[in-house]
Symmetry: C2
Subunit: 361 residues, 2 copies
């Protein structure tokens, strides 16, 4: 019954042909899907990567597999993407699955964990060390198939009206932040707020909140927060990298011919690479503009970082005690991370350290 | 004339059908290509990524576009890949284009430059900041189209029989290294040697050379160099990241239908992401094994790094003076790198620094 809902078989020129039965049997009919996202169209990088994804799938299938992309709110609100895909309202959705860790804590291994893997480590774990399989098992419980489909890298720590000089300064801070970061910061007295992107500016202006984190310079600049809060903190330690994902309703997925599955998979993978490439090209330019407008880039003090790191470990221990999926994946994840860090310290980090400290070539 | 050589149109079931002329006109015939590589099959990551690439192209085209992969020496030697593609001996080749900078210095911007971009910066520059277009203009002069198709990340600095304690220790050092690193090190008295992978071990064992760099722990371990030289130096500063590329004969490319072009392009992009993911998963394990066998990981002393950095800048100035293509691209490349470094220092590097120094989660 679901199948009929998901597939639109258009009569192609080929299928309309009156002979060549074996060829017709092999030729896939046209498929039209809807993919809803958690992003407004103004997020050109996150929303835009979905348009590029749909174009690639279409090109790879000679236009036979068409995926229409919808912004947050067009079909369902941005924070209902997972439910909409699970329920079959749409066949696919693109989101940051950390929005949904209230449903299943183990979802956090998909988007990324606080003090967790950087984007390269995340890809290595997901694609080449069994991470994707482990994460997919969790999503499968909700009839979902998951594809990594983008990455932001390390985000900024947000805009603050006042400086954060000590751990005490976090107490009572009304801070716009979602996901696991909010859960962790509560331990240090922060009052986390979930606020939709369009509502952040007025909330910060009116003083309903004291600070807000969003993404990085390229996206943050568009919100205009730098006009009302001058301190721009780094790093956004709540995600070593923020991985964007595309979710597919498993029942819908199983109706696809192998060629279409391959096209979908590789097009998602392409955006996993391309989204961070675009961010890495756009963020430096936006950061320069923000600094030119008087933004002061500040680093969280060491004592604040240490307190956050400790609170993070406590949170992971608690989640491991509460949730079997979290515990199982966390054990594998932390072992991979520890070994990976050892290697990154030896080569990448040593050269990056030298390069970043040196006078430009 | 060339076209006939490149394409094998097999009679598909569809084409053999007696009706439906418009459908037949749209249905692409089977295409068979040969792709030769610079890699022995023992390089499972570099050679293997080409097998995965061919499988993806086949899956995306329902088996109609078949690409056969050849190891170094099967059709042409590893260092003749570029010529073989240019001459039309094969339609495509996979290599590190830094092997061919003697032909055109500007090729170096493809594989990566000494003290240059890390793999994320390289992707950002290539895909999202005009780098790929600039690099392709150079390869087009040789009737070649280029696709980034893999990355190794920062390599190791190689195995040395004796420690490198001062800049003086580089004088007269017979060092197996190719590409721009060899050119730069000559300024400091190093005698660079180009030696095929299979010949490195006996050369180091007999003392024909004093040191040898190859790739990173995963590939280096297989050569067994750690059995005869205990000092394993970091970083391999001669490439901020080593990008592997697939070259296509432009005349052959133009015969492909759009769907096959799209499949080829996205499959190369997939391997660009997957190769480094595999290396990042495999290198930590190999490094641990090497250390367990007594290998001593050493960092090049600061004075040595500074001398190499200075020699690098001199080399770039000389190449800019000699070669117009190099000068033009270098100007754009260094500006992008300087701005990118500013941004990476602010977010990624700050969090990586904290994470790598902290006690594991």
């Amino acid at each position: 019954m679901k199948r009929r809902k998901f597939i639109t078989v258009a009569a192609t020129g080929l299928a309309a042909g009156s002979l060549a039965a074996p060829a017709v049997a092999q030729a896939p009919g046209a498929v039209r899907w809807r993919l809803t996202t958690s992003w407004p169209k103004s997020l050109d990088t996150m929303y835009g990567s979905n348009e590029a994804f749909a174009k690639r799938v279409s090109d790879l299938t000679d236009g036979k597999f068409e995926i229409r992309i919808f912004a947050a709110g067009e079909i369902v609100p941005g924070l209902q993407v997972l439910d909409a895909v699970q329920n079959g309202t749409v066949e696919a959705g693109n989101t940051l699955t950390s929005f949904f860790i209230g449903k299943r804590p183990a979802y956090s291994f998909d988007a990324g964990l606080a003090f967790g893997m950087n984007s390269r480590q995340q890809n290595a774990w997901m694609y080449a060390a069994g991470g994707l399989e482990m994460v997919r098992e969790v999503f499968k419980k909700d009839n979902l198939l998951l594809f990594p489909a983008g990455n932001v890298g390390v985000q900024m720590g947000g805009f603050y009206r006042k400086e954060i000089k000590t751990v005490e300064d976090l107490k009572g801070l009304k801070f716009r932040i979602g996901g696991i970061g909010g859960t962790i910061l509560q331990k240090l007295g922060v009052i986390p707020q979930q606020i939709a992107p369009g509502d952040i500016y007025p909330a910060l202006e009116r003083g309903t909140i004291d600070a807000a984190e969003f993404v990085g310079p390229h996206d943050d600049e568009k919100l205009g927060l730098h006009k009302i809060a001058k301190f721009y903190y780094t790093p956004g330690w709540w995600e070593g990298s923020a991985q964007d994902s595309t979710l597919v309703n498993l029942t819908a997925w199983e109706t696809l011919p192998p060629q279409f599955k391959s096209a979908f998979e590789v097009a998602a993978l392409e955006q996993n690479l391309m989204m961070i490439a675009r961010y890495d090209a756009l963020n430096p330019i936006a950061l320069k503009r923000l600094i030119a407008q008087g933004v002061q880039v500040k680093q969280f003090p060491r004592a604040v970082m240490d307190a956050c790191y400790k609170a993070t470990q406590e949170t992971y221990d608690e989640l491991s005690a509460q949730d079997e999926d979290f515990r199982r994946i966390y054990t594998a994840w932390r072992q991979f991370l520890a070994e990976s860090n050892q290697w990154f310290r030896v080569a990448e980090f040593v050269l990056d350290s030298y390069r970043f400290a040196a006078k430009p070539l």
